[in-house]
Symmetry: C2
Subunit: 312 residues, 2 copies
């Protein structure tokens, strides 16, 4: 049985209409969006949370896209005004009849009814593309692995589960690169939290060292009190720096090479600060059987803090 | 080229958002909804008008419905809350991603983008089922052929274009009857206009006499000034009577046996009262090659008067 936080309480709205907490997870193909979102839904329980994907709003199926001068990353390839409309409907507690893109067949299938839940997690290529979309979210995340890491993740997934050959994946990545830059990576500037997976500079760790990450916590929303939380730890440290646009930002460095126990100490402190009288979900950070990522666990805990904290 | 009323002008809204004129055409399967709606779209032009069908909002495909204890007529078989939502969106000038039910295959296909136009015609089994749906319309119509007439229409259509055998259609009609009564015919009471096709009582016309009709014009909305329009004609007469609920109503009797010229005189008068400086569209009342229904033509003209009159 997955760990469910069924007994947790958020402040209940006055009326019967649910006004969901809306979380966006944006990022390029194979950046880890589904892994991050899935871990959150597992922690919250499917009765309280739902996850939808904006890639379902493709205008064209795979065969039609072959004839087009742009890729699925392009806003022109997606029903942007309907994404905006459906995000507004969800944010105001209304159901939607969501289109469905079938990643296995490349077809546009019959739509599916999505009822609002207390937590709505919206992941995809373009959830932060327009101002109206962004205005629907309480917290926004951008997943930002280095391109060489993302390439390996995409090859691994698309060859194993979507039936592509390695060369096809590489050719597709090259074809998509200009639109990745123009439309997908452009969203990085609009996220409250940016997870930059990357080796820590100046180290020469062995190749099987877990990925390190820098979690940028932009002061666009309140975050957990990380200064106190990382006090006297070595696995994770916090550094105030200037963002690309020169504005102050907190950069949380999560070292992949640090001992597991050190990272878990910080995770436990974030969990305790949420203020629930429950044990921490054990699956956080899970990447698969026996594989665990401390940066993923820390990111999930920061997001659970946003979703669940009783201290707001 | 179909006749297009492209140069006609309705009062333009102040803003760029279109607030469409919303017309509902409700009725049971094979009651003539598509024929009526199609003639209106042809008169108005596809640039100014769009027609959608609420039967596209089926929850289940044909195979799934076989396992269910209710038919497609049942609100439980349809996404009622999404019909309500989409009607509200259309009425306020917003696009929708409309589901698509494929009558040929019985499958639920990929959805289709529908942009608002100046006139939105919504036909189907259940467009008047809830108060919220009804509140979205400017004018509502219920098509009410006698069951024996509708049975012949349904057999003719379903055996010719949908691949059913006569016995299958009859069995389906019998299976649907309780839900026809409970959900479809229940909407008759909520229409501004009810078209009751039926032989005029007390006559013994030959079998190929065109169907007569009584067009009930309920005083729930203003109608064309029919008292003046039918003055000194014999093909059509108007009678004030009590509706099923005892409220006063105008009953316009359109005689199928009357000479064509008599009916056309009344049609021409309704047309002229709309106040457009254009010839009357010639296709009104058309049922197919060489087949014409005076009651259909009169109903279409009364609706065009609602849609286009410059005298409001």
């Amino acid at each position: 049985m997955p760990h469910k936080l069924m007994s947790m309480e958020r402040a209940k709205p006055d009326t019967k209409t649910i006004r969901p907490f809306m979380l966006a997870i944006a990022g390029d193909s194979a950046a880890g969006k589904t892994t991050l979102a899935g871990g959150l839904v597992e922690a919250l329980g499917e009765d309280r949370s739902t996850s939808i994907c904006t890639d379902d709003y493709h205008r064209y199926d795979r065969a039609e896209r072959k004839e087009l001068p742009f890729t699925a990353l392009n806003p022109a390839c997606n029903y942007i005004s309907i994404i905006e409309q459906h995000l507004q409907l969800m944010a105001t507690g209304q159901p939607i009849l969501k289109p469905v893109y079938n990643h296995d067949t490349g077809a546009l299938d019959r739509p599916r009814l999505v009822e609002p839940k207390e937590f709505v997690i919206v992941e995809g290529l373009l959830p932060l593309h327009t101002k109206l979309m962004r205005s629907c979210f309480d917290v926004t995340v951008y997943l930002d692995p280095p391109e060489e890491v993302r390439t390996e993740w995409k090859i691994s997934r698309d060859t194993k589960t979507r039936g592509y050959a390695r060369e096809q994946v590489l050719a597709e990545l090259e074809r998509r690169e200009p639109e990745s830059e123009e439309f997908i990576r452009a969203q990085r500037a609009d996220a409250d939290i940016v997870v930059q997976f990357a080796p820590i500079e100046g180290r020469d760790d062995p190749p099987d060292t877990p990925l390190s990450a820098t979690v940028l916590l932009r002061p666009t929303v309140p975050h957990p009190p990380m200064v106190r939380i990382v006090e006297d730890t070595t696995a994770i440290h916090l550094k105030m720096m200037r963002d690309d646009d020169e504005r102050p930002v907190d950069a949380l460095h999560v070292h992949g090479y640090a001992p597991d126990a050190d990272s878990r100490q910080v995770e436990q402190r974030i969990w305790e600060h949420i203020g629930l009288d429950l044990p921490m979900p054990s699956h956080l950070g899970a990447l698969g059987p026996g594989k665990r990522s401390a940066p993923l666990a820390v990111t999930q805990l920061i997001l659970l803090h946003h979703l669940l904290s009783t201290q707001r």
